[in-house]
């Protein structure tokens, strides 16, 4: 993706003059900006100050700088400072933070394409202002030699500017013409070229009308639209890329008994990799040493940890929970099941029903229409007056007046405003037509584990457990990092349970924890280990001596905003469904808790996407919200899709919109925003058409002057932009 984003280093003379310097600067940035954090919840000066102050107070941090536009902080720090440590520090003062890979970051930090566009925009702006000054003098009545001189000066300014600034249009027009198609850039290019050519001709014949100012303002307004468009997309794209870096960037390889840290990208098949509890599998492989439990929720949607022992296969993306594991890599990098899934998604993507954006639909109507109109005007006037010069002038005037300034701004101005608003609410629009597609949504499908739920369990039967057992459990759980233990510890702490004193607490990886209490053996762990009956619910058991084991049952804790999001969506008349790979009991309980009638459990990845395709075939426009690898196919199949920041790389790639924070509540508001954005876009089209309806007859009749063209062009562009601004807020 990065490669596609890079502009072909081109004719911007300033840029190509100093590529070495820029290269140097970016390399320096790479060395300094060692850590980068995404901060989805910051929004004001107080946030900036609080975050920077707290980060700077941390020992080892040399400097910290927050970028509010991109919602991220770059931190320069000594090598011993880790990103996790800073994430925790920010968490204590109430800011969510996610680690970004500084390597990927520096690749996208200097947005060359954006700068190039901005430069062209500035040159066009400068030139159009100067030429406009001269043109005003001409319109005010400058005549004869003075007018000719003004026209010649205008030409001298216009020619190089149009050559430099208009390049994005010429290139795009040329590339579609080569393939025998038409896009918006073809009439734009034709209008600019024709305006400059006829004006030059007129000027050389001391004519009265020259459209130099029109050619330049046209370029300026259209470049403004282009830049807005680029900016919205570049921010989304770079952020999505950097989030991708959340995947395990480093792994520990064992070589001759020595542990060595290497980047995941350098792992080879056959390497012995150490995965500590809490770590994610970097590769597909086989366990050769250790027992543990694996959290596979991101891959399959199962909320229950799976027992893992020697000989068992593991897939990249699974999380190791209790004991350290040594795994032998069987597939690395592109060959891991994680990546193969992503490739499947890429295939599904290419088969996805193409959505024609409103802008494309307008261009399809518009581009041929304009060409035919101006060709007819040319032929008509040629037949009527027999004067090539008059006919050409009028054809140029028609092209200039109909030129899609307002159309070119109509969509980007709105999407910029809407994306900005959603970005502030914590959503990132990755796909250019996602906003328009989201406006049509009438059905919302949620995944359960990791999407509606945090993916972390919560103790549900605290009240049923005897108090003495609770204090024993609290003591046992305190020392373990297993998610169920942590849930017990948290619940006990909140209930004010005082832990007992235990001795010889040892963790038995893959099974549980055991300890001694007053001479009796105490064990906390999975059912099979303690001789208890396995239930359908997620549970852990506590057994004291030979007494019957006591059950601790768990449910997934709801993600913040999940309840509000579901309520608000239902209130706005959307059908809400729950499709999960988890067990029927767990899914049913969750559906009942959230008031969702429509649910499906134990769904395989294929079932999920099949179900969504059926819905689509029935005419539903489905919004899929999911985070796991098992959701990727469904995310791709859906009309539009959202995934949380905590989702797996593949899921984020497959989805159109990424939630930056952990909160689901912006989703209903986002749908509303998208609906009003589409409304504004359509209004803008109507405004632009209205101006054309008034101005085109004048142009065809040969009554248009450069003044009328300039007025029509500027007023329509400004109205359209102002209309788009109403979306901000």
């Amino acid at each position: 993706m990065t490669a596609a984003m890079r502009p072909n280093m081109s004719a911007c003379p300033a840029c190509s003059a100093a590529p070495a310097a820029e290269d140097l600067a970016s390399r320096a940035a790479q060395k300094d900006a060692r850590l980068a954090l995404s901060l989805p919840t910051i929004h004001c000066a107080a946030c900036i100050a609080a975050v920077e102050r707290r980060l700077a107070a941390e020992p080892g941090v040399i400097s910290a700088r927050v970028n509010l536009t991109l919602k991220r902080a770059t931190i320069e720090a000594s090598p011993e400072v880790t990103a996790e440590q800073l994430v925790q520090v920010l968490d204590t003062i109430g800011y969510e933070a996610y680690e970004l890979d500084a390597g990927t970051l520096s690749a996208t930090a200097t947005d060359r394409a954006g700068r190039e566009l901005l430069m062209r925009l500035a040159v066009a702006g400068f030139a159009s202002m100067n030429v406009m000054l001269l043109s005003v003098a001409v319109w005010a009545g400058a005549a004869d030699a003075t007018r000719d001189m003004f026209h010649w000066i205008s030409a001298a300014i216009t020619l190089p500017t149009v050559l430099f600034s208009g390049q994005p249009f010429y290139r795009s027009a040329w590339s579609v013409l080569k393939h025998g198609h038409l896009n918006m850039d073809v009439p734009i290019t034709l209008a600019i070229v024709l305006a400059v050519a006829t004006s030059l001709w007129e000027t050389s014949l001391s004519g009265e009308h020259a459209y130099f100012d029109a050619a330049l303002t046209l370029t300026f307004f259209l470049l403004a639209g282009r830049y807005l468009d680029h900016r919205t997309r570049a921010i989304a794209r770079s952020a999505a890329e950097e989030l991708a870096a959340l995947e395990v960037p480093r792994a520990f390889v064992l070589q001759d008994g020595v542990e060595r840290e290497v980047p995941t990208a350098e792992l080879k098949v056959g390497d012995i990799i150490l995965v500590r509890p809490g770590g994610r599998m970097p590769v597909d492989g086989e366990i050769i040493e250790g027992t543990s439990e694996l959290d596979r929720s991101l891959l399959t949607g199962e909320s229950l940890p799976v027992f893992a022992e020697v000989g068992q296969g593991v897939s990249a993306g699974e999380v190791n929970l209790t004991g350290p594991l040594h795994i032998r890599a069987l597939a690395v990098g592109e060959d891991t099941s994680l990546h193969r899934m992503a490739d499947l998604v890429a295939i599904a993507e290419s088969g996805r029903s193409k959505y024609t954006s409103l802008a494309d639909a307008a261009a399809k109507l518009y581009a041929p229409g304009v060409h035919i109109l101006s060709a007819l005007a040319f032929l008509g006037w040629l037949a009527y007056s027999g004067d090539m010069r008059v006919a050409l002038n009028i054809a140029a005037a028609v092209l200039i007046i109909t030129c899609p300034c307002a159309l070119g701004l109509a969509v980007p101005a709105v999407t910029t405003a809407a994306s900005g608003r959603l970005f502030r609410a914590g959503m990132l629009i990755k796909h250019s037509t996602a906003l328009e597609r989201m406006a049509q949504v009438d059905t919302v499908v949620f995944d359960k584990t990791g999407t509606l739920t945090e993916g972390t369990p919560e103790l549900t039967n605290l009240a049923d457990i005897p108090a003495d057992m609770l204090s024993l459990a609290a003591a046992m759980a305190a020392g373990s990092s297993h998610p169920l233990s942590r849930a017990i510890a948290l619940a006990c702490k909140q209930a004010g349970v005082v832990p007992e004193q235990l001795s010889e607490v040892t963790e038995v990886p893959g099974y549980g924890t055991k300890a001694l209490w007053q001479g009796q053996e105490l064990r906390l762990g999975r059912a099979s280990w303690l001789g208890a009956k396995t239930g359908s619910q997620t549970s852990a058991w506590l057994k004291l001596g030979d007494a019957a084991p006591v059950a601790f049952t768990f449910a997934d804790s709801l993600r913040t905003g999940a309840e509000q999001a579901v309520k608000a969506l239902q209130a706005s008349g959307k059908m809400v469904c729950l499709i999960s790979g988890d067990t029927t009991d767990a899914v049913e309980a969750m559906a009942a808790r959230l008031g969702i009638d429509n649910w499906m459990a134990e769904a395989l990845p294929g079932d999920k996407s099949a179900r969504i395709q059926t819905m689509a075939a029935e005419g539903c426009k489905v919004l899929m919200v999911g985070d796991g690898l098992n959701d990727t196919a469904a995310l791709t199949a859906a009309h539009v899709s959202i995934s949380p920041a905590s989702a797996l790389d593949a899921a984020r790639v497959a989805s159109d919109i990424v939630l930056l924070g952990g909160d689901l509540s912006p989703i209903p508001a986002a749908i509303e925003t998208s609906v009003s954005a589409v409304k504004r876009i359509k209004e803008n089209f109507r405004i632009a058409t209205l101006y054309n309806i008034i101005a085109v007859p004048l142009a065809v009749a040969g009554l248009a002057t450069p003044l009328i063209a300039a007025l029509a062009m500027s007023t329509s562009s400004i109205t359209v932009s102002l209309n788009a601004m109403r979306l901000r807020g």
Partner: protein, 52 residues
């Protein structure tokens, strides 16, 4: 009309200065965080001079 021989070059040169200045601001990364810069005005923590 002789005045034009001065005025037109002057207007072009002044405009050109503006353009050059813009190029300078572009080169020194001043458009990387427009929103943050707008908010920082309201911050109580200011520096006496720019950070090195």
């Amino acid at each position: 009309m002789n005045i034009l021989t001065y005025l037109i070059p002057i207007s072009l040169v002044l405009g050109g200065f503006g353009l050059l200045f813009f190029v300078f601001t572009l080169r020194t990364n001043q458009y990387d965080d427009p929103e943050g810069d707008a908010q920082r005005i309201l911050s109580d923590e200011w520096d006496d001079k720019p950070k090195p």
